[in-house]
């Protein structure tokens, strides 16, 4: 008999059962894909690095001193093993297509023979690249996108006197140099092609370079043990490589927030739907009880029904979760190998958990069966008791039109169901707002202080100009003066300053490391921001970032030993600050500290402050003029400078994630609106028919229903706007703190985009979903009042 009752129930309440099934599918899809993505993201780099066979430490030299380095490594007791990867370094002038430069490259590129590769490199399908056909080349990084290369396109590579034509074979993934921040593209070729280049003596002399991948016994001390390695260009531990993926981590972190929000949305909706559908069953429950069925039997009947729906829904959701999860992860997996070996198991486990949660919800909701009596069958589930006024507003006293009144009254009368929708829409809106605030902050001058820079009229970030300091062609002072002179001669008198980066060795409490220190003799230390303490006042005072101070075990007032160019001095830590340079581990010297000009090997860029303090539009005009004068594209404003410091591809990546999240959110909002409205129509069919019977036009009834969604969306918008800033800080500050901004950042909230455009998007999506579902009310006739049970 149970089976017959169940069968009848499933058939008769088809609409609500289908809606519940759809919500179960959504919940499983979101939960399974999100949990999988969370695990993938959290294990992301470790998984990738393990697959790529990365080492604990990396040393790069262009100085033909392989033997010297190998001797050093062989004598280091902490060095367990090391691999040597030979390659050729070149800049963007070496790459061309049809006589034109293939693309602009800010950093050096590397040419590697696949046979020489000491790491695992991956193709776009995350398969290890084992061979490259002769005449073909794989590219890592964003170069192919920039150069608009399609598989099979031909391009030329010229090193020394040797020029070879390659066919582009596809994208490859490089764990070491592939991050957006390092962004040193590698050209991976066949060994025969590689040997054609190395046969050229000029190439061997000018382009040879070696990367040492070193593993240690004690990974914690390996970096300080290797800090005295002779004459190398790069000498860092895996932590710096890991943190170079920070932008991918930010994007992944955003996906994590998206995933958490999706899980919240799905379970809120599920809880609501189960409770909602069960409330519709009071008549049947009352009748069954009147017929003498026991509570447990009635409860069992509904539990079996929900179990059936949960199992079918969870299985379908499980199947859909795989492509959905992959779509979400695509934005971060373009230059990373992400995944986890237990993806399917996790999806299955999540689906089972969803079923268990549904059963838990059902168990709790069906608890009500005990208190429903046969009289509920007669009284339509109402007890007739009321302890407070149903609605807050009275039609007789209201000045609103009928449709508006009814919509508002419905919302006030059933706050619970509309609260659920408000929560969902608020979560969706906050999600988009948070991502937008992050994307806008990452491309704004708000981050300038975190890169140790001051606001200036223009910034020059040309690598060739910076390289003149690195190569010793010009000194730090000479190049600053040279730029100022050129601009002055062209009618733009100005002051040129630059934040120099120095990498001294710093030691305290027996701990040693080589962090980056900023130094600017033309600006005052007191003009910078500090978290604690006071700005360095004297030459022997320094500011350290909190993570660096913690690493060295020092605090304000403590002494540290700093060695610059072989000369050691004691410095007092006067302040703690936050910075995103070297991912939060950096320091700042006082302007009067004696730093020899020749010690300055790197600058963040050249800051230009015009003497006449022009307005923004004039500065923009001058920036264009400066590009011609200095013959470089890399002159920018403060926003552009921040982008350069962070990595230029980051903004595009975050914007594409933002767009994807907007689309997903819009689809979710539409789906929720559709399913909710369909539930309401199903529940309110008697009232709809009655309204039509007493003379309401169909469009009035549709308008009333849509208006309820509009009210909810408006509420959600107001709440989201109020919570936007604190929610952004709550979710994104931890991500920025990984980058070094441990005290949080000042977010760039664009009011029109965040407070107007996004609420309008959610509002419109809600109304579209509600409207197209509400049209169904046309099929409910006034005469249906006679058929209502």
């Amino acid at each position: 008999m149970y089976l017959r009752i169940l069968k009848k129930d499933l058939k008769r309440k088809k609409t609500m059962n289908i809606i519940l099934l759809l919500f179960v599918i959504l919940a499983t899809m979101f939960a399974a894909s999100s949990v999988n993505n969370i695990i993938t993201v959290l294990n992301g780099l470790d998984y990738y690095f393990e697959k790529a066979d990365m080492s604990d430490h990396f040393v790069l030299t262009l100085n033909n001193n392989r033997d010297e380095i190998e001797d050093f490594l062989n004598n280091q007791p902490n060095v367990k093993d090391y691999r040597v990867e030979e390659q050729l370094f070149f800049n963007d002038t070496a790459l061309s297509s049809n006589g034109k430069k293939l693309t602009e490259l800010k950093n050096s590129a590397l040419l590697l023979s696949i046979d020489n590769g000491k790491l695992n490199y991956f193709d776009k399908d995350n398969k290890i690249l084992n061979e490259v056909p002769e005449g073909y080349a794989y590219f890592t990084g964003s170069l192919p996108t920039k150069a608009d290369l399609k598989v099979g396109d031909e391009f030329q590579t010229k090193l020394g006197n040797t020029e070879l034509t390659f066919k582009y074979a596809g994208i490859a993934k490089d764990a070491f140099f592939g991050s957006e921040m390092f962004n040193n593209p590698r050209l991976i070729v066949n060994n025969t092609d590689y040997e054609k280049f190395t046969a050229d003596e000029k190439v061997r002399e000018n382009n040879s370079g070696i990367i040492f991948y070193i593993n240690g016994y004690d990974k914690n001390t390996l970096e300080s043990d290797l800090s005295d390695i002779p004459s190398v260009n790069f000498n860092k531990g895996i932590s710096i490589v890991k943190t170079s993926y920070i932008m991918n981590i930010i994007v992944a972190g955003m996906l994590l927030i998206v995933s958490v929000c999706l899980i919240i949305v799905s379970f809120v909706v599920l809880r609501f739907t189960i409770s909602f559908t069960l409330n519709e069953e009071f008549r049947e429950i009352g009748v069954m009880k009147a017929l003498g069925l026991r509570n447990s039997s009635v409860r069992g009947l509904y539990l079996v029904k929900y179990l059936g729906i949960a199992v079918i829904g969870a299985f379908t959701g499980l199947l859909l979760s795989i492509p959905f999860g992959n779509t979400l992860m695509k934005s971060v997996s373009d230059n990373m190998v992400l995944g986890n070996d237990n993806a399917l198991l996790i999806n299955i486990a999540c689906s089972i958990i969803v079923i268990l949660i549904i059963m838990l919800f059902s168990w709790r909701c069906t608890h009500k069966i005990k208190i429903l009596s046969p009289i509920d069958a007669v009284r339509s589930g109402q007890t007739g008791e009321r302890f407070k006024k149903r609605g807050l507003i009275c039609l007789g006293k209201s000045k609103l039109g009928v449709t508006k009144f009814l919509a508002l009254n419905d919302v006030f009368s059933s706050p619970k169901q509309f609260c659920v929708m408000t929560v969902i829409f608020t979560v969706c809106l906050l999600l988009i707002m948070t991502l937008a605030n992050t994307a806008n902050t990452l491309s704004s001058s708000r981050l300038l202080p975190l890169f140790g820079a001051q606001e200036s009229d223009a910034y020059i970030t040309d690598v060739d100009m910076i390289a003149k300091i690195m190569t010793g062609e010009m000194s730090y002072n000479e190049i600053n003066e040279d730029i100022a002179k050129k601009l002055s001669e062209n009618g733009m008198p100005c002051k040129i300053t630059s934040e120099a980066l120095i990498f001294p060795s710093i030691e305290a409490n027996g701990k040693k490391c080589s962090p980056a220190f900023t130094y600017n003799k033309n600006s005052k230390s007191s003009d910078y921001m500090y978290s604690e303490g006071y700005a360095p006042k004297y030459a022997n005072e320094i500011a350290l970032t909190t993570p660096l101070a913690e690493k060295l075990g020092v605090s304000i007032g403590d002494n540290v030993k700093i060695t610059i160019d072989g000369k050691s001095d004691n410095y007092i830590v006067s302040a703690l600050s936050q910075s995103m340079i070297q991912f939060g581990e950096s320091g700042k010297f006082h302007e009067s500290t004696n730093i020899p000009d020749e010690m300055i090997k790197q600058v963040l860029g050249f800051q230009v402050d015009f003497d006449d303090s022009p307005d923004k539009s004039e500065s923009e005009r001058r920036i264009e003029k400066m590009k011609d004068i200095l013959n470089t594209e890399y002159v920018t404003d403060s926003d552009g400078f921040v982008m350069t410091c962070i990595g230029e591809g980051v903004k595009d990546t975050i914007n594409s994630v933002k767009l994807m999240v907007i689309l997903i959110t819009a689809v979710i909002v539409i789906m929720i609106s559709v399913l909710m409205e369909r539930s309401f129509i199903s529940k309110e069919k008697p009232e709809i028919a009655l309204m039509k019977a007493i003379g309401f036009k169909t469009k009035s009834v549709i308008a009333q229903h849509i208006m309820r969604f509009a009210i909810v969306a408006a509420f959600a918008s107001v709440i989201s706007i109020a919570l936007c800033s604190p929610f952004t800080k709550l979710c994104i500050n931890p991500i920025f703190s990984i980058m070094g901004a441990i005290d949080g950042v000042e977010y760039n909230i664009k009011p029109i985009e965040v407070y107007i455009i996004y609420p309008i998007i959610v509002f419109t999506a809600t109304l579209i979903g509600a409207y197209f579902t509400a049209i169904y009310m046309k099929t409910i006739k006034a005469s249906d009042t006679s058929d209502i049970e």
Binding site: C394, L690, S700
Partner: protein, 253 residues
């Protein structure tokens, strides 16, 4: 000469269920004049309610014509019909349907607030609603929830709602069907009073006692009017009921 409020000619209504044609109403013709109170009686499934819903424009006719206050319902679209139901007709249903999120008074005044028939303010409409409730003896429940009142009170509230726009005609589908005898008598008392004050009423009922309060009875069997009976309202209610029962027996009731 009496004015016809409702004139029905050759009305047919056919439902198609599972590809089978079901002729519920077959060439029905009758007229109801202003001030009449007409009951439609007949066995279950004879087409009484379908007739009521079709002539009131809630359901579409298959053929024939229904002229209500000079307008042919067949020529009107859904919106016009809705407007007519709102302004010129009143409805009372067996199940006492009301909007559950509104109080009794708000339910009663809802059609008046929606109607553009007059430009009264919401306050004035509410005042009119309360007056109607007072007349029907239910003023004490005006602010109550629909679940807090008895069936008789609720049905009287439905009568108030049907009256709020001063309609030409009230259509009632078994208005006492869900009520006990006392409540049923109270409700019919009110409907009779309304009719005596000039409102035309057409109601569907199974109850001879209810029908005996009307001026005319239409007896339907299988979608056809099988007989028509004029009630002598000069007789006492008891005598009318007895005479009607006799006629119904003749009709095969």
């Amino acid at each position: 000469m009496n004015t016809a409020v409702l004139e029905v000619k050759d009305l047919c209504k056919t439902y198609i269920i599972n590809k089978r044609q079901n002729n519920v109403l077959r060439n029905i013709s009758f007229r109801i004049d202003k001030g009449e109170m007409v009951a439609v009686m007949g066995p279950s499934g004879s087409g009484k309610s379908t007739l009521l819903y079709t002539v009131s424009g809630m359901d579409k006719m298959t053929a024939g014509s229904v002229i209500f206050c000079g307008k042919n319902l067949a020529d009107m679209n859904e919106n016009d019909l809705a407007g007519m139901r709102l302004d010129d007709m009143g409805f009372i249903f067996q199940q006492m349907y009301m909007m559950k999120n509104l109080s009794i008074i708000d339910n009663i005044i809802l059609p008046a607030v929606k109607s553009r028939k007059n430009n009264d303010s919401h306050k004035e409409i509410a005042k009119r609603g309360r007056e109607l409730m007072h007349k029907l003896g239910i003023s004490e429940i005006s602010e109550n929830d629909i679940n807090e009142v008895s069936g008789g009170q609720l049905q009287r509230a439905c009568i108030c709602r049907s009256m709020i726009n001063n309609p030409y005609m009230i259509f009632a589908d078994e208005p006492t069907g869900a009520l006990n005898r006392t409540a049923s008598d109270e409700v019919m008392e009110e409907l009779t009073k309304l009719n005596e004050n000039g409102t035309t009423v057409m109601l569907v009922t199974h109850d001879a006692k209810v029908a005996a309060r009307c001026s005319r009875i239409l007896f339907i069997v299988d979608g056809n009017i099988k007989g028509e009976y004029n009630v002598n309202r000069k007789l006492s209610l008891y005598e009318r009921e007895r005479a009607l029962n006799n006629w119904l027996l003749e009709m095969g009731w």
